[in-house]
Symmetry: C2
């Protein structure tokens, strides 16, 4: 890490913890350089980074100030969910969203695609090319079932960042986080069994529950405080639930991070009812707060947590490299890995291991976290301008997804169909529910934000506004 | 295809169909050049290729002769299988075989690893490197659920080689044939359902049956004529079987190719009992006979055949690129693909598509077919020398695997343990059975054959001979 980055992280923490408050004046460049024993240009570099992340702003001839507190949009309320385990539907919507080929003319605001065009990712392409030219041909050979040792070593090293002490042999490399979740579910639950999920929830996990003939017990989840532990406890008392599937850090789609205290309480519940926890941490490394929050896995003392993650959101999804730390379910997980794919593609694993070993991972993450936080703010501004005032929006703690709730009778599946003609895609809320709830909600991707994307978001807002007006037109004669 | 290759294929066919018989003298170079209107060097090139495949031999000053009929070893008899559906065990053996990291010092005769060191594969490495340098970054992006269009186009084109007319949209790209088989089983059968399999059978398919809570109905299979249609018919009459899983072309592990007539009869049985066929064709393109045999899928008129294959045996397993043609089960297969891995790694797909499009696939296959056929013969010679005379050996029609049956009480699991100290691995027969039968059998890989491998095979033979002698020593006092 460069000096200026260390300094920027230090200042960021002081802003995030409230040491410097909104609109506070920051120390002068000269003063900070003196107090930290660094050069003037190092301080300037650090301030530019924070400016870029919209945490501070420069005022001509006055110096640097902490950005004024943004007016946070109203958060959506926690959803109402079924009071019993349900079968999962909505495959048609998910299918449509995932069968679309990446297309330059399409503004796909719906998919969970990170920005892969960052200069900090270039060394990964060089590593891929280098691996192809290796004389030992390891990249063409079957990998071992667990995954390349050099990659598992790097994953174990990175895991200390969320408080986990892992041995490389605790880790099984998978074909994306999809395979990790799919393995986890089959490792802990039989067909017909019940899995508790946060709601709204990642549609991939819901569709796995469907595919393996299980049932989903949806637990209401608040966009600020996260999954309702009270509702979860009640469900655990009433139903023979086998596992709790959650995304507690930088949740998809709601964006919240469960507090450490609540993470511990969730773990205690799992212990009390002797159920497994499937912890999806795929966005965890994109937490805007630094250092990143700890995983539930970090205080797992009896191996009941199956940590699932991948490089799909932090590096590049096309590599399909994820991993699972299956704890006490290691042997079952290995069997599921074997029958599912035999082994993970070798080549990409080697390139990612090189990329991390050469020190490119941390700078890339720092850049992306700042970019995604800045883009969140910019997109919130556009939403505030373009959407009806009644629209509620999440305020993510990390990642690159916003969750919007429109007025009750706006149908976002119909909205998506209308947007097709304008070459814009959103993710309709129904995808995130087992039974097609959240029809008035949608998810937007803010990984990339430029004039074109801003324009696309405005178009979405206009269409929602129109739909609301049409509804009013229809409603008026009836009430007249 | 070069002229000399066309000529070689023509001559190969005439030898294989018996037009030229063993020890027959072939036309002189001059005569053949005149009758085919090609140059002398073209004929010489073609003869060298056939010589390389050990189909013909040059005798100084006499010309070329068809190689004398090899004394074919005695084939193992068809196995005796259980008369009812069974649960699948043997995971420990499979796990041990697949968790081993490729290691230069180890002679792994057990694994299904092709020769990846052929010069005809070099363009694939170049394509991989080229794809990494593409500016459009498609290789880093999520692929569509079905797989890259340019790859599916090439797979559809190649499928005409086994008699299939496919549209690219009939194909779903998978993470190796493992995922294809895993998808196929879940698409046609519920947990608790029964799948009929040839026996011995590919352990990956058997372990899938286990993982999804299904049962295997093992059908006795003859190393020459293939799966017993009579036994299969009886099983279909007696049990509610949902699908027949077979590897009818260049079978793994037995090496047979089911005749076209018997393939048709198998399909008719599937129609009569309304069950699906899961056709594993992963070794089909490595058939020594040219043109290669048709798949069952090629005469599938109602979409009940799910064709599963990959480039793992023909190109390189580390890429993990396979495919499924799921016929009438397309929608279910897509769902299983989605929950299993989300999409297949993009990068390798693009490189393979380029490799095929640029015309490198056919020359590579021609080379490998000839190499594997020659190596089969060479390894059979070593086996005849080094193993006890009572050993029976398969006579494969393609691929790079030999199946050996030792005397009844030779334990090949114990044999494998003994060989560990000598850094040699074999695949014990128990892996190929649901219930640990074939303990006196083993599978050997002849993809690569050199002095070292020959030596390793001799060591295996010596150990078997010793075990037989020890048994005799133990047995003698008892009978005295």
């Amino acid at each position: 890490m460069h000096r200026y980055e260390r300094l920027a992280d230090h200042l960021r923490e002081r802003i995030q913890t409230g040491y410097y408050r909104p609109a506070d004046r920051l120390p002068s460049v000269r003063a900070l350089a003196a107090s930290h024993g660094v050069s003037l240009s190092t301080v300037q570099h650090a301030y530019h980074q924070l400016e870029d992340a919209q945490l501070i702003e420069a005022r001509p001839k006055s110096g640097y100030f902490v950005s004024p507190q943004r007016e946070r949009p109203l958060l959506p309320p926690a959803g109402r969910t079924a009071q019993r385990p349900v079968e999962v539907s909505q495959w048609e919507q998910v299918r449509e969203g995932t069968c679309v080929l990446p297309d330059a003319s399409m503004h796909n605001l719906g998919r969970g695609m990170p920005d892969i065009d960052a200069p900090t990712l270039k060394p990964l392409l060089r590593a891929l090319s280098r691996v192809s030219r290796r004389q030992d041909l390891i990249g063409l050979n079957y990998d071992t079932l667990h995954g390349r040792p050099e990659l598992r070593e790097q994953i174990a090293r990175l895991a200390t960042g969320h408080g986990c002490r892992l041995h490389p042999d605790d880790i099984v490399v998978t074909t994306g986080c999809h395979e990790a979740i799919s393995i986890a579910m089959r490792a802990v639950c039989e067909p017909g069994g019940i899995i508790a999920v946060d709601s709204p929830s990642f549609y991939g996990a819901l569709q796995s529950i469907r595919a393996y003939g299980m049932k989903a017990m949806e637990i209401p989840t608040d966009p600020d405080t996260g999954i309702s532990l009270e509702a979860l406890e009640l469900a655990l008392e009433q139903w023979p639930i086998r596992a709790i599937q959650v995304t507690p850090t930088c949740n998809n789609p709601l964006g919240y991070t469960l507090s450490l205290e609540r993470k511990r309480a969730l773990y205690a519940l799992a212990q009390r009812f002797d159920v497994a926890i499937i912890e999806d941490d795929v966005y965890g490394d994109l937490s805007y707060a630094f250092p990143r929050p700890a995983t539930i896995k970090s205080f797992d003392e009896d191996g009941r947590v199956l940590l699932c993650s991948s490089f799909s959101k932090t590096l590049a999804p096309g590599l399909r490299i994820g991993w699972i730390v299956p704890g006490r379910y290691h042997e079952r997980a290995l069997h599921m890995k074997y029958v599912g794919t035999g082994a993970t593609a070798t080549h990409g694993q080697m390139a990612v291991a090189e990329f991390i070993r050469e020190g490119h991972h941390d700078p890339h993450l720092r850049r992306m976290r700042a970019q995604y936080q800045r883009n969140r703010n910019l997109m919130l501004d556009v939403i505030a301008d373009a959407f009806p005032a009644s629209t509620r929006v999440s305020y993510p703690a990390g990642g690159f997804m916003l969750w919007l709730q429109c007025e009750g009778d706006i149908d976002t599946v119909a909205l998506n169909e209308r947007l097709m003609a304008e070459e814009i895609r959103i993710a309709p809320g129904v995808m995130f529910s087992a039974t097609g709830k959240y029809r008035h909600c949608l998810r937007l991707n803010h990984a990339v934000f430029d004039a074109e994307i801003a324009h696309a978001v405005m178009r979405v807002g206009q269409r929602v506004t129109e739909m609301l007006a049409q509804r009013a037109d229809v409603a008026r004669p009836e009430t007249a």
